[in-house]
């Protein structure tokens, strides 16, 4: 079954916020990035990381690229998520350094356990990588209720830490100083127009709204 978000869907729908022109210009590059992911990522790398070694960066990059993969549309790799995480770990999320530093050797142990011939997570095939990550992903119950969103889980796992940072790095305001969501690709994927100013109509359901009309006159106060 075709995913509702196949490339063709994207090109024809035109409603998700990705313009056909943007996609036509970029999709071949993105597919190429998917195929030659590590090389592409390396080529785009700025001179140095602040927290990661290059080897660590390649591993985190590979994990983030399975959390939000490059498909017909850009993923974590094109959004530069590994740079966002690197910056996060030396600034607002320095308390996660330990989780990451201790999590990487555990990740490698799991890689060797499942695939004795392999040394690095990033050297595995996508399917193998997913198998490793599934084994690390302890299902954490979603925070109950809307207000729970703000309360942070105490001591999340290595995988959960990388997952949340990947989501953050993919969808952070591209105008922020945090090195994530490069070129706004994350927002393009979810259909978030980066403009600061919008005029109604905003969506499908308000475009034919006739304007406010009073509730029917017979609607006197009723009580349940």
């Amino acid at each position: 079954m075709d995913s509702p978000l196949s490339r063709r869907g994207f090109l024809t729908q035109g409603l998700t916020g990705i313009s056909a022109a943007w996609f036509a210009t970029h999709w071949s590059a993105l597919l190429s990035a998917s195929t030659h992911a590590r090389q592409a990522a390396k080529a785009a790398m700025p001179p140095k990381f602040e927290f990661f070694t290059l080897e660590e960066a390649a591993e985190i990059d590979a994990i983030s690229a399975r959390i939000i993969p490059t498909t017909d549309t850009p993923g974590a790799r094109e959004a530069g998520v590994v740079y966002f995480i690197d910056r996060a770990l030396v600034t607002f999320s320095s308390e996660d350094q330990k989780t990451i530093r201790e999590g990487l050797p555990a990740l490698h142990a799991r890689v060797r356990e499942l695939f004795p011939a392999a040394e690095k997570f990033s050297a595995l095939s996508a399917a193998q990588q997913d198998q490793v990550l599934r084994s690390l992903d302890e299902q954490q119950p979603p925070a109950a209720g809307r207000r729970g969103r703000r309360s942070r889980q105490s001591a999340p796992s290595f995988f959960e830490t990388v997952r949340v940072h990947t989501v953050n790095g993919f969808l952070i305001d591209p105008e922020s100083d945090k090195r994530g969501n490069r070129d706004g690709v994350g927002w393009k994927v979810i259909g978030r127009d980066p403009a600061h100013m919008f005029q109604p109509p905003f969506g499908y359901y308000d475009k034919d709204y006739p304007g406010w009309q009073a509730n029917p006159a017979e609607a006197d106060k009723t009580k349940s």
Partner: protein, 554 residues
């Protein structure tokens, strides 16, 4: 224009020191300074302005740019006084000039008549300290209108048959309807309910120095970069400074109110930015520090005369905390709503504001609104249906499909007051200044949970009528996280059963006034800020009259 702003010395005995610059503090500062009084406002947070208000979700939600910081001000939580409280972030409030009004949703309905007289009407409620207010809706009505016109509230007068009477229309029309609002309005009417344009403290038309809402979409939780949100920062604080008699002093963390030998407040003791202790002298003290920090400050100010906390002869300082019950039913629709554009809420209904306890089997009432108040990261971490993939291509596909197609029905409800529900001082945990941290004790009255589940069922009926593709909610749970901080220094005529009188004056200390969410006797049905601001305008009139009659001295 650069204003010539006054700088008072701490040794100057100003007329009023106002502690807190939020919804109530900003208005009291403006009104008192406009009436010729010399005012110093002590605000614990920084003085940020529009240029500082960014769309960076990490700064807002992870770094607490605008809010109380759990590292500086940790707190503990427990459900009942029998439990030992554990460190756990349990509350959020705006910690900056303008307070929580800077980042709020800006829902601005008035309380209805019933909220002031419910106890008399339905009688005692088991397990609750429900009481009637010593003032009525009619007493507050002129001040509700004053709020609407002074700060700028968008809305449509008389569009809800359940609205209480009003003396004036809104100063400006409602904001443009969103797709979520249209879906809500059409479905509610199918069911015979009465949706109406949500009154919002956000400008639909420009005012001097302030833009109308540009629909940028970073609203709840964020400061407004164009001054369209009618926060105290964008309104009352600026007006107070223009009087030339009001000094806003940010980064001032008050930890004690001192009394003289006659039991009269002499001013406030605070840490400045450099953590040096300062004492601001004043003829009278007005505390507007919010429903958590106001009682905490009184408890921190215990002395020989008030060993259980300043102005706490009733023992009720910090008690009867109410948070408002409620929660969200979320739904996905076929076509894009693009509800990320614009402010949060465009339609609301009050058909269930006043329910018959005999029929529904619980006390309380509520409201439903249509909204989308999520931003990209908060949506990706918390906006998908339960059981959705959390990573991988299917997760990404779902984000891409649902982000533009999701709306929320927010169910707003009563919290019945319960005496044990409270803020007080934790016996062990300290804040970054070495003072006892807040301890929150809270267990919802059983009726509040029944009400929430009842409202979720109505929200689901509405979503079915609307043709939602998918809808979900979680059963109401006992709350452990506070946003609305209400009732902790309640107003009343009897000094034994309340903390302040109808002038907002503490029963115990003649020149000490409290005005903020702590003053509320009941919780309404959610959305307390409008009522806090109406109370602040009214309190300013009362305090002005007392001062002019010379009744604050001695």
């Amino acid at each position: 224009m650069i204003l010539d702003l006054p700088k008072y010395k701490t040794t100057d005995e100003v007329d009023f020191v106002v502690i807190g610059s939020g919804a109530a503090g900003g208005i009291l500062a403006k009104e008192l300074s406009s009436n010729g009084f010399r005012v110093v406002v002590l605000e614990q947070g920084p003085y940020l302005t529009e240029k500082d208000f960014v769309h960076d979700e990490i700064k807002i939600n992870f770094e607490d740019l605008l809010t109380n910081h759990p590292k500086l001000q940790p707190n503990t939580f427990r459900k009942t006084p029998a439990d030992k409280a554990k460190p756990q972030r349990a509350l959020v409030y705006g910690r900056l000039v303008g307070g929580t009004s800077v980042h709020f949703t800006a829902n601005f309905w008035r309380f209805h008549e019933i909220d002031f007289i419910e106890r008399g009407k339905i009688g005692a409620v088991a397990g609750s300290t429900l009481a009637d207010w010593p003032i009525t809706y009619a007493d507050l009505e002129p001040y509700y209108s004053k709020v609407e016109w002074e700060i700028g509230v968008s809305g449509q007068a008389n569009s809800s048959p359940f609205d209480p009477p009003r003396s004036k229309p809104y100063p400006m029309p409602p904001l443009p309807v969103k797709s979520s609002g249209v879906i809500f309005e059409r479905a509610a009417r199918k069911l015979g309910w009465h949706p109406f344009p949500a009154p919002m403290a956000i400008l639909s038309q420009p005012r001097p120095g302030r833009s109308a809402c540009m629909n940028c979409g970073f609203c709840l939780g964020f400061g407004c970069e164009v001054g369209a949100k009618s926060s105290s920062l964008a309104t009352a604080i600026r007006a107070a400074e223009k009087t030339g008699r009001c000094e806003i002093r940010p980064n001032s963390y008050v930890h004690r109110i001192e009394l003289d030998a006659q039991g009269r407040a002499t001013g406030a003791v605070y840490f400045d930015e450099k953590k040096s202790v300062q004492r601001q002298k004043a003829k009278a003290v007005v505390v507007c520090a919010n429903g958590a920090e106001t009682p905490r400050l009184l408890l921190l100010s215990a002395n020989k005369q008030f060993p259980n906390g300043l102005a706490n002869s009733s023992g009720l300082v910090g008690k009867n905390l109410m948070l408002n019950s409620g929660g969200t039913v979320t739904a996905v629709f076929d076509e894009p709503l693009n509800d990320y554009k614009g402010y949060a809420v465009s339609r609301v209904l009050h058909d269930f504001y006043e329910l018959d306890p005999q029929k529904v089997g619980f006390c309380g009432g509520g409201a439903l609104d249509a909204r989308f108040d999520m931003t990209p990261i908060s949506f990706a971490l918390g906006g998908l249906p339960p059981g959705s993939p959390r990573w991988g291509a299917s997760y990404k596909d779902l984000l891409a499909h649902n982000f533009a197609r999701t709306l929320e029905i927010f169910c707003h409800g009563t919290s019945l007051p319960v005496e044990n529900n409270s803020f007080d001082l934790d016996p062990e945990l300290k804040d970054a200044w070495g003072f006892p941290a807040l301890r929150m004790t809270y267990k919802d009255h059983p009726d509040d949970l029944k009400l929430s589940n009842w409202l979720y069922a109505r929200a689901k009926e509405l979503l079915d009528a609307a043709g939602a593709v998918k809808k979900w909610s979680f059963p109401a749970q006992e709350q452990q996280f506070a946003v609305h901080l209400l009732g902790t220094c309640r107003m009343g005529n009897d000094a034994k059963t309340s903390v302040i009188n109808t002038d907002h004056r503490t029963h115990d200390v003649k020149n000490l006034f409290l005005c903020d969410g702590s003053s509320l006797v009941t919780s309404g049905r959610g959305q307390p800020t409008m009522t806090i601001e109406a109370l602040a305008f009214r309190a300013a009139d009362r305090i002005r009259d007392l001062a002019k009659r010379g009744e604050l001295a001695g």
